[in-house]
Each structure stands twice: as C-alpha cells, then as structure tokens.
C-alpha cells in the first residue's frame, strides 16, 4: 500500500534521529550487544571446532587389536567372527591385517631408511582393524574386545576421543549458559536505552495518541531504533569476531597444535556467523524496545 511505504520512510528516519539524540546511551547499548555477541560467538566457534574435530576423529574411529602369535588361521577367523558379533562394532569394516602388510605400511610411512625396513616380518604382529559405530561407547567396545581370547593387546586413542567429547560438551554447555545470561543483559540494556528515548519523548507520544495515533504508529520508530542498534552491534561484533578468530589461530599455529587438529577457516563459516549475529542482534534489539515501549502507550 502506498500510504504504508510513506510511513515506513518516516519510521526509519525517526528511528535514526532518536539514536543520535541520545548518542551516549545508544553507544553503550551497541557496545553491550557487541560484547554479548562476541562472547557468545567465541564459545560457539569453540564448540563448532571441537565438534568438527570430533567428527574428524570419528572418521578414524579405529583401533587395532594385536593377535596372539600362537593363533592358527582358524583361530584368527574365529576371533574375527567374535569381534564382528560384538555390539557397536562396524561389522562390515572389520579387517584382518597380516604382519607383512603392517610392515609395508610402516615402511611406506617412515621411508625405506627407517629402522622398520630392516626388521624381519616377525617383529610385526598380525592385527585386526576395528571401527566402532558410536564413539561415545568407544571405551566399552575396546574393553569387550580385550576380553576376547587371543586379543593380545589393543591400541586405541580413546583418551583423545573422549577429551574431544568433553571439550565439545563443555563448550556447548558454557556457551548455552552464557548466551542465556548475556541475552538477558542485552535485552535489559536495549530496553533501558529505548525507555530513555521514549521518556524524553513522553509528551510527544501523549500528543500523538491524543490525535488518534495507533500503538503501532508510535511503536515502530522505537522498534526500528532497537533494530538498528542490534544490527550495528551485530556487524561490529562480526568483524571483531573475525579478528579474534584469526588471532587465536595464529597463537595456536605458533604453539604447534595444528599437527593434531586443523581448525575451520573463518572464510568457510563467515556467512553463518554473520547470519546468526544479525539474527540475534535484530531480535534482541526489537524485543528489547518492544518491552520498553509498552508503558508509554498507556495514554
């Protein structure tokens, strides 16, 4: 509708004018939103990376069981069948690796000149490679395999896998609590900013209402003010987040952690980060101002 578009322009102009008429408070509100989003974003990115790491770990959720050297081929086959029958074992992926192959793999990995090349095959043991289905039950599965007769030794990375799970769960839980807390703080700050804006225009609002303005007409400029504050905070937070992420990665690179894991590059996730920040900022801004303005409409 034509009339509506006309008013939209008015609402936006009023919203911006209001922001600058009490600049300090608006600035404080934007800073608060930036801080909230930044903390929220940092923890979320930590959780996302831990999650990514975990799924990478899940790619090689493999462990090896070394077979008793005295076992015959028949016994080995029987052991293989027993392993396949265990719960949480990816039966299709249970693979027997003879010692010759194991040696070949080592030589391939460490080069011809390595100490492995000159070793006789007998130094290596026959082994079975096992993949688990659910990484969180990794430990139980390893223990079940260990209990089988003929399973001489088991090599696993369960400690590492479990610590990834712990990091992810911890980061997620902390992020959830912090986000909840910070959203409340941001709402409070935004609501107070808008309340101040509405208070300084109390008379004007009362006159508007006397002249037959609907609640919506009075409310929109304030909602837009909240929206603009929220989005401004979101954009600033986005760029800061980008910087923080790069700095943290640099720090990690220097400490040499990257040999263990590879973080997600920011450029791969920036769209998601920006979208989430803007969504959260806009929501906080509009809900906050909506909460604040209600009282002034009771004229």
């Amino acid at each position: 509708m034509k009339k509506h578009g006309f008013n939209l322009f008015y609402f936006i102009r009023e919203g911006f004018a209001s922001i600058f008429s009490h600049g300090l408070m608006s600035f404080a509100a934007v800073c608060m939103i930036v801080a909230c989003l930044l903390i929220m974003g940092s923890f979320s990115l930590l959780a996302v990376n831990a999650d990514n790491l975990l799924s990478e770990a899940e790619d090689d959720n493999e462990f090896l069981v070394f077979i008793d050297e005295t076992f015959t081929d028949d016994q080995i086959n029987a052991l293989g069948a027993q392993i396949m029958a265990l719960p949480n074992v990816d039966a299709a992926n249970v693979r027997f690796i003879p010692k010759e192959d194991a040696k070949a793999t080592y030589i391939e990995r460490y080069g011809d000149e390595s100490m492995y090349a000159s070793l006789p095959d007998e130094v290596f043991r026959d082994r079975i490679s096992i993949h688990v289905l659910d990484l969180s039950k990794f430990k139980e599965t390893v223990d079940a395999v260990k209990a089988l007769e003929g399973a001489a030794n088991v090599r696993d990375q369960s400690e590492l896998a479990m610590s990834f799970v712990a990091v992810r769960n911890g980061a997620t839980a902390l992020a959830t609590v912090l986000v909840g807390l910070l959203v409340c703080v941001s709402l409070f700050i935004i609501a107070n900013t808008i309340r101040l804006a509405a208070f300084t225009r109390k008379e004007e609002i009362a006159i508007m209402k006397m002249c037959g303005a609907t609640d919506g007409f009075v409310r929109w400029p304030f909602l837009i003010e909240g929206l603009v504050l929220g989005l401004t905070g979101a954009i600033v937070a986005f760029f800061l987040q980008w910087g923080v992420y790069i700095l943290v990665l640099q720090g990690l690179e220097e400490s040499g952690v990257f040999s263990i894991f590879v973080p997600i590059p920011f450029l791969e996730i920036w769209k998601m980060v920006l979208a989430v920040f803007c969504g959260a900022g806009a929501l906080i801004g509009m809900v906050g101002s909506g909460l604040a303005i209600g009282k002034f409409l009771q004229v």
Partner: protein
C-alpha cells in the same frame, strides 16, 4: 455526540472528582463547561478522550461506548475528536506546517490530501503566512491558533478545548473564542472549558456548570446567571 450517564470518578488516591454527572451534547452544539478550580472539568474531558475511565456510569462519544471499547478502537474514537489544550502542546521542533502534516500522517493521510487540507485550515485560522515558522517564533495567540488548526486538520466531528484561552491575554482570548464559534458555525460540535466569565457572558451559548464534581446548572446564557 457526547453522552455521560450517571458518571462517577474516583482517582486511585481516593479523590472523588465526579459525582453522578449526567450530560448530553448533541451534534452541532456549542457548550461551555465552567466551574471553580478542582471542580472536575478536566476530569470530564479526560473521560471523553478515554485518558481516564469512569469508576461508575456510562460514557458514549460519537457512537463509541467507552465502557466496552476495545483498546485498538480508542485511536479511531479519538480521530472523531479534536483536542485543544491550555498550553498548546505543539511540537516545538516542527514548523506550523510540519505540525499539521504530522497530525495528518498519524491517520495515514496521503501527500495529496495534505497539500489540499493544510492550506485550507491555515487559511481558516488565519496563519497562511506563518506556515514555515517554528512555534517559538510566533505569539501565544498564534500558537493557540496552530493548536486549533491541528485539532481541525483531520476533520473531526467535535472539538474539545480545555481552557484554550487560559494562557493568553484578553485580546487573544476573544479572537480565539470567535474563531471557535466560527468553526462551530461550520458544523463542528464544540465543548469549551473556560474560566473567563466575560467571554462566556458575551457569547451567550449553552453553559454547563459543575462544582465539587456535581452538575449544578445547565442552561442557555451567561456564566453567573441564576437558574
């Protein structure tokens, strides 16, 4: 049309402002509402504009029964009224034209409607040449004429004025009252609260007098004349 039926108003702090008020103002009428300070005149106006609600009794304004009006309907009820205050209450940051334009924007008028209506109303109140002035750049009498123009701009059925001349010197008062009379003659119902005995006597309109929240007199003619 305004109808107050057996209306009582007691404020939250216990002040009994109105006591069994019955009154009726028909379309096209011109009525003065008079009474000593604190007698409840502004309270009546606030009940009519739905700023306050009655403790008991019925209030009907231009077809809206305020006792069971929905919150969202109140703006539409108010658009049938034009309200003028003692202290003008203009937007000081907007020009004369801007004040009128904004009031039309509130009800969703188009630019075309604004361009037609604003010059007409400015001419009616005699402020055509002050169109671009800010409220602080014009006299009190002129400011009040802007307020009258604002009350008129959306073509209400009725104008309600709470002491429109209270802040003006007598020359302006007569001028304002004459303007209100002229607007009434063009068909807009007029309810004017005032203290000014001389003016009331001079115009010889209907006078509703209240005292201590009670209606003590409702008759055609002057302020102090006995019933």
């Amino acid at each position: 049309m305004i109808r107050l039926i057996d209306v009582y108003k007691e404020y939250d702090n216990g002040t009994k402002a109105l006591n069994a008020i019955d009154m009726r103002i028909d379309d096209g009428e011109f009525a003065f509402l008079v009474g000593p300070s604190g007698s409840g005149k502004s309270t009546i106006i606030k009940l009519i504009t739905a700023e306050e609600s009655p403790t008991a009794g019925q209030v009907v304004v231009n077809g809206f029964n305020l006792n069971n009006i929905r919150h969202w309907q109140i703006p539409y009820m108010r658009r049938t009224l034009g309200v003028i205050f003692q202290d003008f209450r203009l937007n000081k940051k907007k020009t004369v034209w801007g004040n009128l334009e904004f009031t039309m924007r509130i009800i969703g008028a188009s630019r075309k409607e604004m361009r037609q209506r604003i010059p007409y109303v400015l001419d009616l109140v005699g402020l055509t040449d002050k169109s671009d002035a800010l409220p602080d750049e014009i006299s009190g009498g002129e400011q009040q004429r802007v307020a009258i123009a604002r009350a008129l701009i959306n073509n209400p059925q009725m104008i309600i004025a709470d002491e429109p001349t209270g802040n003006l010197d007598p020359t302006f008062s007569l001028e304002i009252m004459t303007l209100l009379e002229r607007i009434n003659a063009m068909g807009t119902t007029m309810l004017v609260v005032t203290h000014e005995k001389d003016l009331v006597n001079r115009f010889g309109k209907r006078v509703i007098a209240i005292k201590d929240g009670e209606l003590i007199r409702d008759a055609q003619g002057g302020y102090g004349r006995p019933v």
